[in-house]
């Protein structure tokens, strides 16, 4: 698989060097342990928000560090959870005395590493709350499995919690916003192609030219069902139905509709997806009050899309509209 890299072992290091050069007004990049932190951190009296995960999902999470969103992001190796020492140092770097929120995606490694980091931070006297996002309806939730994966809702949680912290809300109040997103957001994704982890060099799974994978995760892990490719509208129906039936969305509910690109799918196709997703939501009596369309939580060069729908109340809409200034998301400023 062709890649625009120098050395598979130095992909994350060199990416971070690029970010440091590109956005010195927004962030500082700390190496060994690696984390990206707001240029003006720590902010006294403000709740700090950190997230992290494997690399390969850019702009998430590093691209969301800045005013109105994350205070720090911990990038792991490609598709590999970061380590507790990174998370601990990032937590300390953003701690302004009001506590720190860890936004964690539900993957076994991420959860275990963040748990260890939270224990270490608490031992150093920093108040930490953790919320684990698990919004992927493609995975059956059960007491006997690792549970649903954390995907698209994470981006929305980072935006809303970032705005809440910027307003000066308490750690508990910011964590409550995150828990609302966890409870009210649902996602499902699909892939047209696989992707290749740089140090592996070959696609994570094989997907024939005329087939697609429904229920794909963001790490190239195969989904739950493989089938012949279909027109976009039918694919969108296959993604929207499980989302809408998973939470009891009521007629008249207001939602944010987020159509995400997996990294290799152009915007022209994402708008085709949005068009049908909007139509289906409206047919179910849901009011799409805000949207986000583009590659925000990607899976390297994978072609495909994921759809996230988040039910919102008035407060959440206000938080969504609040100013944000990050490399990956910027408005109102």
């Amino acid at each position: 698989m062709k890649k625009l890299i120098n050395d598979p072992e130095r992909v994350v290091q060199e990416e971070l060097e690029g970010i440091a050069l590109a956005h010195p007004d927004l962030v500082k990049v700390h190496f060994n342990p690696n984390y990206i932190v707001r240029a003006d951190a720590p902010i006294k009296g403000k709740v700090g928000i950190i997230s992290g995960g494997g690399s390969g999902h850019e702009p998430m999470h590093g691209g969301f560090v800045g005013l109105g969103m994350l205070d720090a992001a911990c990038p792991g190796a490609v598709f590999t959870s970061p380590t507790p020492d990174q998370m601990l140092e990032a937590t300390k770097a953003v701690s302004g005395g009001a506590g720190v929120l860890h936004i964690v995606k539900n993957y076994t490694g991420d959860v275990m590493n963040f748990e260890m980091a939270a224990d270490l931070a608490k031992a150093e006297g920093i108040e930490v709350e953790s919320v684990v996002i698990d919004d992927d309806v493609a995975v059956k939730d059960s007491l006997y499995t690792a549970g649903r994966r954390g995907v698209g809702s994470t981006v929305l949680a980072e935006k809303l919690c970032g705005a809440a912290a910027e307003e000066g809300r308490s750690l508990k109040e910011v964590a409550d916003v995150c828990r609302k997103v966890k409870d009210w957001g649902r996602s499902m994704g699909m892939a047209l192609t696989s992707c290749a982890v740089p140090h592996v060099g070959k696609p994570t799974f094989d997907l024939p030219e005329d087939e697609m994978e429904i229920g794909i995760g963001i790490h190239g892990e195969p989904g739950r069902k493989r089938m012949k490719i279909k027109p976009a509208d039918e694919i969108v129906e296959m993604l929207m139905e499980p989302i809408i039936s998973d939470i009891p969305y009521k007629e008249g509910d207001e939602v944010i509709l987020f159509v995400n690109g997996m990294g290799g799918t152009p915007l022209i196709e994402l708008y085709i997806v949005y068009r049908k997703a909007y139509e289906i939501a409206t047919k179910h009596g849901l009011k799409v009050v805000r949207n986000l369309i583009g590659p925000y939580i990607t899976s390297l060069e994978m072609a495909g899309t994921s759809i996230t729908m988040l039910k919102v109340d008035e407060d959440m809409i206000k938080l969504w509209d609040a100013p944000v200034k990050t490399a990956g998301l910027r408005w109102g400023i």
Partner: protein
């Protein structure tokens, strides 16, 4: 027969070499049901461990194992990082200050290590994880010691049980870790974590069991 401090150092070095040799194999197993990084992650971790070896040459077994654990914690990542880190940290706590281990000491250390992994990963037998290799191995070691087996034989029976446990993960449907997202489709593949755990105990039998 007992296990010397030097033998423990040799075991760690030998395992780092085994991981290097099996890096692609472990990653391929992971690609089938996970996210294709187990071999690379373990390799990165044990390469860092090798870098610490010179400063450990005159330390006690507890310090050696704890240093291995802390090094893995900050270098491996993924789920394997905290799990293998916990394994070595727990074993290190039970062997603090010791310069050699009796078979009973070794059992106590391994028992704490396995219980630590269970606690951290919240996994049980037949979840298709490291636990499926580690728990039968621990039981076999216990039985061997009670049978009055030699250290060499006890370690061999321990490794053999880990091998059988690892192979028994093939038909299982995963209930923990990333493989659980696949549901029924995870059956038919050997668990990569159980495999690296078996290799650890196999290396122990080869290195520590040398009479």
């Amino acid at each position: 027969m007992s296990i010397s401090r030097d033998a423990i150092l040799e075991w760690i070095k030998a395992y780092a070499a085994v991981i290097e040799e099996n890096k692609t194999y472990l990653t391929d197993l992971d690609a089938a049901i996970g996210d294709a990084d187990h071999g690379a992650n373990m390799h990165r971790g044990f390469k860092a461990v090798l870098g610490k070896m010179s400063e450990l040459a005159d330390k006690d077994i507890g310090t050696i194992l704890k240093t291995v654990g802390m090094t893995l914690l900050s270098t491996v990542g993924g789920a394997g990082g905290p799990l293998y880190a916990t394994f070595f940290l727990q074993a290190g706590m039970k062997t603090a200050g010791k310069m050699e281990l009796t078979p009973e000491d070794w059992y106590t250390a391994l028992e704490a290590a396995v219980n630590g992994v269970k606690m951290r990963g919240k996994a049980e037998l037949e979840d298709k994880t490291m636990i499926d290799a580690l728990v039968p191995a621990l039981n076999a070691l216990n039985e061997s010691i009670h049978d009055g087996a030699s250290m060499t034989e006890a370690l061999q029976r321990c490794a053999q049980a880990a091998k059988e446990g690892m192979e028994a993960t093939i038909p299982l449907v995963a209930r923990k870790g990333r493989a659980s997202y696949l549901g029924e489709r995870s059956a038919g593949h050997q668990d990569p974590g159980a495999t690296s755990s078996y290799l650890l105990l196999k290396t122990a039998a080869e290195v520590l069991g040398k009479a």
